[in-house]
């Protein structure tokens, strides 16, 4: 077009030729598509509709405004206080949890048991164990050294023949 001698001065909308094919195709295709959708409404529906909506609006306006007992501000304060309380509690709790059994002195535990605060006897403890637990119990064989045992026997058993064995 540019090498034409005279310019006509007409112009087209932006992208007119770019979209032309699509638009033409759509126009042609639309011939296959029915013009009407087939939906209908009950008779007098639109007149009744106005009344229905206006009544609903009237009801909304007549409803007394509900003022919530707890305003958003109050709820925010309450949540903040609760959060602070949780924070403080968790800090205290963290400190408390540092006290463990390991930190207790043996003598403290002993005196606690001797004072009768722990009324368990060996029978009660045995009841807490099942057969498997009992089997798995490893008896410390090193409670008495051979030396100690020999000394004990020498001091307490008179029958020397027994010792010879």
């Amino acid at each position: 077009m540019e090498d034409k001698k005279h310019k006509h001065g007409f112009n087209t909308p932006k992208d007119y030729f770019k979209d032309f094919d699509d638009r033409l195709f759509s126009k042609l295709s639309e011939g296959y598509i029915p013009k009407k959708d087939g939906f209908t409404v009950p008779e007098g529906y639109f007149n009744l509709f106005e009344e229905t909506v206006l009544n609903r609006v009237k009801n909304i306006k007549e409803q007394p405004k509900v003022i919530p007992i707890l305003s958003r501000k109050t709820i925010t304060y309450a949540i903040s206080i609760a959060a602070c309380a949780v924070l403080v509690f968790s800090i205290i709790n963290t400190n408390a949890s540092k006290i463990t059994l390991d930190n207790l002195q043996f003598t403290t535990i002993e005196s606690y048991i001797e004072d009768g605060n722990l009324s368990f006897d060996s029978y009660d403890v045995a009841l807490l164990l099942n057969d498997e637990d009992l089997e798995n119990l490893v008896f410390d064989e090193e409670i008495f050294s051979e030396e100690t045992l020999e000394k004990y026997l020498l001091e307490n058993i008179d029958d020397t023949t027994l010792l010879l064995e």
């Binding site: 992208d15 979209d19 699509d22 638009r23 195709f25 759509s26 295709s29 639309e30 296959y32 598509i33 029915p34 009407k36 959708d37 087939g38 939906f39 209908t40 409404v41 009950p42 529906y45 639109f46 509709f49 106005e50 229905t52 909506v53 206006l54 609903r56 609006v57 909304i60």
Partner: protein, 183 residues
């Protein structure tokens, strides 16, 4: 038709609100009805959605900012309400959104407020095969007198995007109608 700006300021004024709302109702009820009807398909659901749309408009008109158009704003509310209704139905019945639409489609045949013939019923089936956005674009462009510029504001999509959506939709629907000759 009352100028939109005047209507908005009347709707936002204490004394004129009721009269302006009546005017708004009479101007837009039918247009919004047909827009919603094409999304939800049956009359009763459309009635519910249309009522809720106008109630929302009435309750929120005070917050409406005149930098967008009232017409666009109302169409957006109507579209959202219609899609919300379909989503709620799906959730309530524990089925997919597609199943809700399929049910609505299969009910059309016996719907007393659907007087469409076989080809119109087939058209609704063809539309249902499109993605949601293409359905909206097709319905609003083919059956209503929206310009691409207005559609662009309502659907928040570029004019170019809308044009290609529409052409794709028309192609798909034509193919469906040609290939599915019998029910």
């Amino acid at each position: 038709m009352v100028e939109e700006k005047e209507l908005v300021s009347a709707l936002q004024s204490e004394h004129q609100k009721d009269a302006a709302f009546r005017s708004l109702l009479s101007q837009y009820k039918e247009r919004l009805y047909w827009h919603i009807r094409k999304i939800v398909l049956n009359h009763d659901d459309t009635d519910d959605v249309l009522q809720n749309t106008f109630i929302k408009i009435f309750n929120n008109i005070g917050k409406f900012k005149s930098d967008s158009k009232l017409y666009t704003w109302m169409y957006r509310i109507a579209t959202n309400e219609a899609i919300t209704l379909i989503n709620k139905k799906a959730k309530k019945n524990n089925i997919t959104i597609e199943s809700v639409k399929d049910q609505a489609l299969s009910n059309l045949k016996s719907d007393v407020y659907f007087e469409g013939d076989a080809i119109q019923l087939k058209l609704q089936k063809a539309i249902a095969t499109l993605p949601q956005k293409q359905q909206l674009v097709f319905n609003m462009k083919y059956f209503e007198d929206h310009t691409y510029e207005k559609l662009s504001e309502i659907l928040n999509t570029s004019v170019g995007g809308l044009k290609s959506s529409y052409h794709i939709a028309v192609k798909k629907i034509t193919t469906y109608l040609k290939t599915n000759e019998t029910f």
